[in-house]
């Protein structure tokens, strides 16, 4: 009994509150997105919002179960979760239902299992377990390799589906590595490479190379005496040049044409509001037309009348933007940021490094989804098909995000204990 009560008091209710709020917001917006004025019933299990209600209830039950599980369970079983996930990721390549060009789903009865969703928390768990083991230093090359492998194996399998969006999610875990001691330069260098990537695609490869070399030359000339500095710059420049040509090659030869187009649309290289840019353009119109206060619940026209594609899943934020305006967008963004900050705060109060690392993983993954999903609806990020956590329609994603979050809540509720 004491345990029970302490569990109740130890759970972070702020996170629970934000979680439920986001689920409710999601449910109302899914309802609005598929709302048909000619058939205005609110609960109908055949519709998306009816099903979502079931998903939410299922997720809550699952969350409760997780909270009741033993704390050691997750630490102990994380390699098994990870292994099962990998097996499922392989299986899905063979038996998966091909939806929208992706071998992403394993049909189990009427339910469709999406292993890539579960790869997120199982990878986090394993990463946390590995990094929390004593006497490890991320500065060690071997440690870094293991960490990378933990992340790259599921990533690669997901890439094979091919589901680029979900695969890219794993890159967000670089925040975890950074927190745990990965050199700060990693982030800076990562940012630099992203910048180079964009520049390469925007401008002529040779021009970018030329400018890069020129900058390197100026830097070297200004600091002739420092040998190591010169060496660093020279190596950096060389790597950059190789990277530029790799990007150029990858862009032309590896990326599929629709992916190329999505990137081009974001970069403003092509302006084709009826072709590839259609989704993005309609999405921006829907959100942009919401104004400050929005058109009101169920009053959105752009999402309801199918101008926006995937309006209840990946583009659910369009409904938020259109019907609730900037005010609604602000609330949603604020909720997410509050959630992320809160998770980090909780992670940092842990005595167990396993919990802390896992918490950072949760925050990173949620952050990535939040940023990329909203960013793509307003044209800041290429259109990558990943859901908005807790809001987008879909059982797999809601349940996997719920598991992801509630494992952390469970671990946090036990923060006073030592593993």
């Amino acid at each position: 009994m004491i345990n029970q009560r302490s569990l109740f008091f130890n759970i972070d209710w702020i996170i629970i509150f934000i979680y439920i709020t986001l689920c409710v917001i999601g449910w109302f917006n899914i309802h609005a997105a598929v709302y048909d004025p000619q058939n205005p019933s609110i609960v109908d299990l055949d519709t998306n919002y009816g099903k979502q209600l079931l998903f939410i209830v299922t997720a809550l039950i699952l969350g409760a179960v997780i909270l009741l599980l033993d704390n050691k369970f997750f630490n102990a079983f994380s390699p098994i979760f990870y292994g099962v996930t990998l097996i499922l990721l392989v299986v899905v390549l063979f038996v998966g239902r091909n939806v929208g060009g992706n071998q992403a789903w394993i049909p189990i009865g009427s339910f469709r299992l999406q292993p890539s969703e579960f790869a997120k928390f199982s990878s986090c768990l394993l990463l946390a377990k590995y990094l929390s083991s004593t006497n490890l230093k991320l500065q060690d090359f071997q440690t870094l390799i293991v960490c990378t492998l933990i992340l790259v194996i599921p990533m690669a399998l997901i890439m094979l589906q091919p589901d680029t969006g979900s695969a890219l999610t794993f890159t967000s875990l670089v925040f975890v590595l950074y927190r745990e001691g990965l050199s700060g330069y990693t982030l800076v260098i990562g940012a630099l490479f992203i910048a180079l990537f964009v520049l390469t695609l925007l401008f002529n490869t040779w021009a970018v190379t030329g400018i890069l070399v020129a900058i390197a030359a100026v830097l070297i000339a200004s600091n002739k005496k420092n040998r190591s500095f010169i060496t660093t710059i020279a190596i950096g420049t060389a790597i950059s040049v190789v990277f530029i040509f790799c990007v150029d090659f990858a862009y032309d030869s590896i990326l599929q044409s629709h992916q190329r187009n999505r990137i081009d649309v974001i970069l403003g290289k092509i302006n084709d509001p009826r072709g590839e840019g259609y989704n993005l353009n309609q999405s921006k119109i829907a959100i942009g037309s919401g104004g400050l206060w929005g058109k009101g619940y169920l009053q959105g026209t752009q999402t309801k009348y199918d101008f926006v594609p995937e309006q209840s899943t990946d583009f659910i934020f369009c409904t938020v933007g259109e019907e609730w305006g900037f005010a609604g967008s602000f609330v949603v963004v604020t909720l997410y940021v509050t959630l992320l900050i809160r998770i980090i705060n909780l992670a940092e109060r842990q005595r167990s490094s396993f919990t802390r690392i896992y918490g950072y993983g949760v925050a990173s993954i949620l952050f990535f989804h939040f940023f990329v999903n909203i960013g793509m609806t307003i044209g800041l990020v290429p259109v990558i098909g990943i859901p908005l956590p807790f809001i987008s329609y879909g059982g797999s994603s809601l349940i996997s995000f719920t598991i992801l979050l509630f494992i952390f809540l469970k671990l946090d509720s036990n923060r006073m204990g030592v593993i």
């Binding site: 927190r179 309609q282 942009g288 037309s289 400050l292 009348y305 101008f307 933007g321 602000f330």
Partner: protein, 639 residues
């Protein structure tokens, strides 16, 4: 806790920074940039004009002259068109591939994103076949319109036609008309456009991404309904009009019949005519060109646009004015020895030697000599200078509506010609001229141009014994049968009623008593009062003219008939008028078959290959003949 603890702030900072970037971007596209709002509207809203039914036009008894027939305009929004089977499409709407390409290019040129007419006026039949396949052609849709249909194909010039608005119409209408709208171009359709057109409505429909209608914007709060045009009850008698048109087949000329007690026009025939249905539909352009270049000018509205010297029917006016001015009395007699001598050696010839006539007989036999004398009495023996006598005479004539527009409710009316004294003062270089200088005016020739409408109006004035109502084509407007007040006002011509009786007596004798000039047109039980005229035509055969009213007491119809190249007034014009009067008053034709057939079959159209007949030089008024500005159709007078 470990040494990397401060890095949490870096990470949290990144989260917050990214969130701020998102919020800034959201703020920009949601609050600052308004273009998305407009795009959203464009996406969803379709303004569908609802075209009102154009007002019907009925005849005086309520029979339909013009009705509406539904047609379907095929519209296109080029940008929404997806590839489809062009050949099948063309087959469905009955065009060929080149037409298709041309039309599609035109639509693109107009606008890629807004709709324009792709093909006009699909028939109900074509539409029915096409409708089932419409879903296969995204970007195309159909707008329901109505076009005019004329069940009896009569009264083309009277009714006029509608056509697409011109750029000028659009400008003038300050926003009412839009490209592709229809507007009355001539006839009643034009003069009553504002009543007939009704009020257009607009529906703001919402559509989804596939252009499927999704109901009314804001529950229809911004929709307006179309208000149908007013129904016009025209003055025309459909049966009489039809009969008149039949009688005028293969003849050039006009018939105007007026109800004297109201000024309502019963018949308005302009011949040759055309089938008004030709001006409707997809072949309209071709038909229009053909009609417009026809040498017989079917589009010319002869009753109000053709001007003729009136000839002998003008004697009626001179007889009335002569009495009113006190120049003659009903029993004043003049002797006719075969001509009127007005100075010099050459007389104004008369057709016969009539001997002594009083006023009624002078009209019955149409004696030129008599009217030479009457005219001279009015101008020269008025107790004032001739020029002032002429001015008084002219004023008197003008009151009959001659030389000015009667303001009939049709566009393009001509006013005709009534000379002023200054014309002669200028011509003779001083104002000392006398009646002899323009004596031909006494018998309705010289510088006179009168439209058939004006002739009929004079007949109505005589029938009313001194006044007329403005002739008009529309009896009543709308459900409330509104009548314009100007049509109920009597216009007095300044001749006392008592002076009409002797003239009417003469006009009755013209038809009903030997040796009247139109006894061939008498009807057994109806007393027609009329006057023939024969208008000499330097370009061919004389024009046959007759005007009349009937019955003598309480007249019901006044009529003027002009048959170009018809010769004497009694040959064609009088029988036609007589048949129409009979038809109108008795609703039947009891004349022998040959009498009617002769007119129905008579062909008086000019034969262009035949050399014009030499015209006998008759110049009773040579001095003025040479110099005068001839009206459109020149004439001389016989009886």
């Amino acid at each position: 806790m470990n040494s990397f603890f401060p890095r949490r702030y870096v990470i949290q900072g990144i989260f917050i920074a990214i969130a701020l970037v998102l919020l800034l971007r959201l703020f920009y596209i949601q609050v600052i940039d308004k273009s998305y709002f407009l795009s959203a509207k464009d996406n969803v809203l379709r303004r569908i004009p609802i075209f009102p039914a154009r007002g019907l036009i009925l005849d005086r008894t309520g029979k339909v002259l013009v009705q509406n027939e539904p047609v379907y305009d095929l519209m296109v929004i080029p940008n929404e068109v997806k590839p489809f089977d062009t050949l099948e499409f063309c087959g469905l709407i009955g065009i060929n591939k080149e037409d298709f390409d041309k039309k599609f290019k035109k639509a693109i040129k107009y606008s890629r994103y807004t709709s324009s007419i792709f093909e006009k006026q699909l028939s109900a039949l074509t539409y029915a076949a096409f409708q089932e396949k419409l879903y296969e052609y995204p970007g195309f849709y159909v707008v329901n319109r109505s076009v005019r249909y004329y069940p009896d194909s009569i009264a083309a010039q009277f009714l006029g036609y509608i056509g697409e608005v011109s750029e000028r119409d659009i400008e003038k209408s300050v926003g009412f008309y839009r490209k592709g709208d229809y507007i009355g171009k001539t006839g009643v359709e034009k003069s009553y456009e504002e009543l007939l057109r009704g009020q257009r409505g607009v529906q703001q429909l919402m559509v989804d991404a596939f252009n499927r209608p999704k109901g009314h914007f804001a529950d229809g709060r911004y929709d307006t309904i179309a208000v149908s045009g007013e129904r016009l009850i025209s003055s025309l008698d459909k049966d009489l009009q039809k009969f008149g048109e039949q009688l005028m087949v293969n003849k050039i000329g006009s018939i105007v019949a007026i109800e004297p007690s109201s000024g309502e026009i019963l018949t308005f025939v302009s011949s040759p005519s055309y089938n008004p249905n030709l001006m409707v539909g997809r072949q309209r352009g071709k038909n229009y060109t053909a009609l417009n270049t026809d040498p017989l000018k079917p589009m010319f509205i002869r009753p109000i646009q053709a001007e003729y010297p009136p000839g002998s029917i003008f004697k009626v006016i001179n007889a009335l004015l002569g009495q009113q001015f006190g120049s003659i009395k009903a029993d004043t007699r003049f002797f006719c020895g075969g001509g009127y001598y007005y100075g010099g050696s050459r007389p104004m010839k008369c057709t016969h030697v009539h001997g002594s006539s009083d006023l009624p007989r002078s009209i019955q036999v149409s004696c030129n000599t008599y009217y030479g004398n009457v005219y001279a009495a009015m101008i020269d023996r008025s107790g004032m200078r001739s020029v002032n006598g002429f001015k008084r005479w002219r004023e008197g004539v003008a009151k009959f509506g001659i030389g000015s527009r009667l303001d009939i409710d049709l566009p393009h009316e001509r006013k005709g010609l009534l000379p002023t004294d200054s014309l002669y003062t200028k011509r003779y270089r001083n104002d000392k001229w006398r009646s002899g200088y323009n004596i031909s005016l006494s018998i309705g020739q010289g510088e006179l141009g009168i439209t058939p409408l004006q002739m009929a109006n004079v007949a109505a004035t005589v029938a009313n014994r001194g006044f007329f109502y403005k002739p008009h084509l529309v009896k009543a407007i709308g459900e409330k049968k509104y009548i314009k007040p100007e049509y109920t006002k009597k216009n007095y011509v300044g001749v006392d009623a008592k002076y009409f009786e002797p003239v009417i007596q003469g006009m009755s004798m013209v038809v009903n008593q030997f040796p009247g000039t139109a006894t061939y047109s008498a009807i057994y039980n109806i007393e027609i009062c009329g006057k023939t005229g024969t208008v000499q035509n330097p370009h061919g055969d004389d024009h046959s003219v007759f005007f009349a009213f009937a019955p003598r007491n309480n007249p019901k119809i006044a009529i003027a008939v002009v048959v170009e190249n018809g010769g004497h007034g009694s040959t064609w014009a009088a029988p036609i008028a007589s048949l129409l009067i009979e038809k109108y008053l008795t609703d039947s034709t009891k004349r022998d078959k040959y009498y009617v057939d002769r007119i129905l079959k008579g062909n008086l159209l000019p034969r262009p290959k035949v050399a014009p007949k030499p015209v006998a030089p008759k110049k009773p008024d040579s001095s003025s003949n040479k110099q005068k500005q001839q009206p459109a159709v020149t004439a001389n007078k016989k009886r």
